[in-house]
Amino acid sequence: MRVTCTVNGERQQADDVREGESLLYVLRERMGLPGSKNACEQGECGSCTVYLDGAPVCACLVAAGQAQGRDVVTVEGLTEGEDLDPVQEAFVEAGAVQCGFCTPGLVVATHDLLRRRRRPDDTEVREALAGNLCRCTGYEKILDAVRLAADRAADRVAG
């Protein structure tokens, strides 16, 4: 079947999609967007997190056909041209990236959190990132990165 949807602001089309195929597979293998990672295919790790109509979801658990006509934003869509999103910058600067497999999902989840809460406390951060596993960093640097990104965003708003 054919699936057409908006991905990172552009209309994308994929042909010969299998009916049981996931949105994650379509993004990675048919649309050339390998940013979202496939690490478990069962919703446990969060490394495939994308926005679907504005809500973060596991792309591995969305049937491709369910994305027909919908709006998808992947980690690739957070950059502005060559410029990284402040959340991405903070992850790099805080040393929150080791092997990097979990990073795209964590970046999208953090991006969503900071849209909703300008100054999340640690409990809120842990809650918001509870669906994202990292096997390398031990999470402390990730929490640092989220705090850094929140500080930057708050500074920018304060001007």
Partner: protein
């Protein structure tokens, strides 16, 4: 495999009657795991995410009609006041990503003994509205679960909604797991106080083939509270009453040993959760 995408409720029912073997998919958080791992190869998927009626809720006469495809995130954001117990349970489901997609109708459809919405739905005597082209019926939640991952729907039926009475008193839900997020409950318990009826409702999960209420425990505690005039005085019941309540809840279970825990641990956990959940709820009642 076919991918069927009705855009209205009537179309969805028509499709289900023509293709009873089609597997409904709402949030996909159970279905997609099975497809990704090739556990199942249904002849057709029936996507319910384009049926707007299913994603809505409304209140009629003190009862919330919760569309089958209302997500946990919606329950938490929109229904914490009317359905506090379901909202507490919803907060414990998976992760934000799972709660953004996962639905109460899907939880019922999966009919897992560990489904986190089930204990509170039992405790408040919710009803499942099942529909087909030939009509609509309401199934009490206690009769909905017929076995491990089995339910009372006919092949041509879909879940339209769940009817959940708006809370008239405090409600609580607790679940035991190895960590706070992303766990299948080792065992879970819900309680609802119904002060206007002088009744206590219960439900538990992961401690029998299906989620179940604990009727003897409900009867015992409701009577004990009434006999001592505690609904009126709002005083605390004796410790022995609370302890007996916990024992009766555990007696209603028939748990098994499995990788998540032993039967003995589950019984013990249920006793402790029943005592605690009641105490929290009663403290809320005393303050109200």
């Amino acid at each position: 495999m076919d991918f069927l995408q009705p855009t209205s409720w009537l179309d969805a029912l028509a499709v289900k009657s023509e293709r009873p073997e089609a597997m409904p998919i709402a949030g996909g958080t159970d279905v997609m795991v099975e497809l990704n791992f090739d556990v199942r190869r249904p002849a057709a998927l029936l996507d319910l995410t384009r049926v707007p009626e299913l994603a809505e809720w409304a209140v009629y006469d003190g009862r919330v009609r919760l569309g089958a495809a209302v997500t946990y995130t919606q329950v938490i954001a929109e229904l914490t006041d009317r359905l506090p117990g379901l909202a507490i349970a919803s907060r414990t489901v998976g992760s934000p990503q799972i709660r953004n997609r996962g639905t109460v109708g899907g939880n019922l459809g999966a009919a897992s003994p560990a489904g986190d919405s089930h204990p509170i739905l039992l405790a408040v005597d919710a009803e499942v509205e099942a529909a087909s082209v030939t009509g609509t019926r309401r199934i009490p939640v206690a009769e909905f679960f017929t076995g491990v991952k089995r339910h009372a729907l006919r092949p041509d039926e879909l879940i339209a909604a769940v009817w959940v009475p708006a809370a008239t008193g405090p409600q609580q839900f607790c679940k035991i797991g190895t960590r706070n997020a992303m766990v299948i409950a080792v065992t879970a318990f819900a309680i609802a106080l119904h002060p206007e009826r002088r009744r206590v409702g219960t439900g538990f999960g992961s401690a029998a083939a299906t989620p179940r209420p604990a009727p003897e425990a409900e009867e015992f505690l409701s009577q004990a509270l009434a006999e001592e005039g505690l609904w009126e005085s709002r005083a605390a019941p004796r410790d022995s009453v609370v302890r007996r309540f916990g024992e009766l809840v555990a007696d209603a279970a028939s748990p098994i040993d499995d990788v998540r825990g032993t039967a003995g641990y589950r019984r013990h956990g249920l006793q402790v959760m029943a005592r605690r959940a009641f105490t929290w709820a009663w403290n809320d009642y005393r303050k109200a």
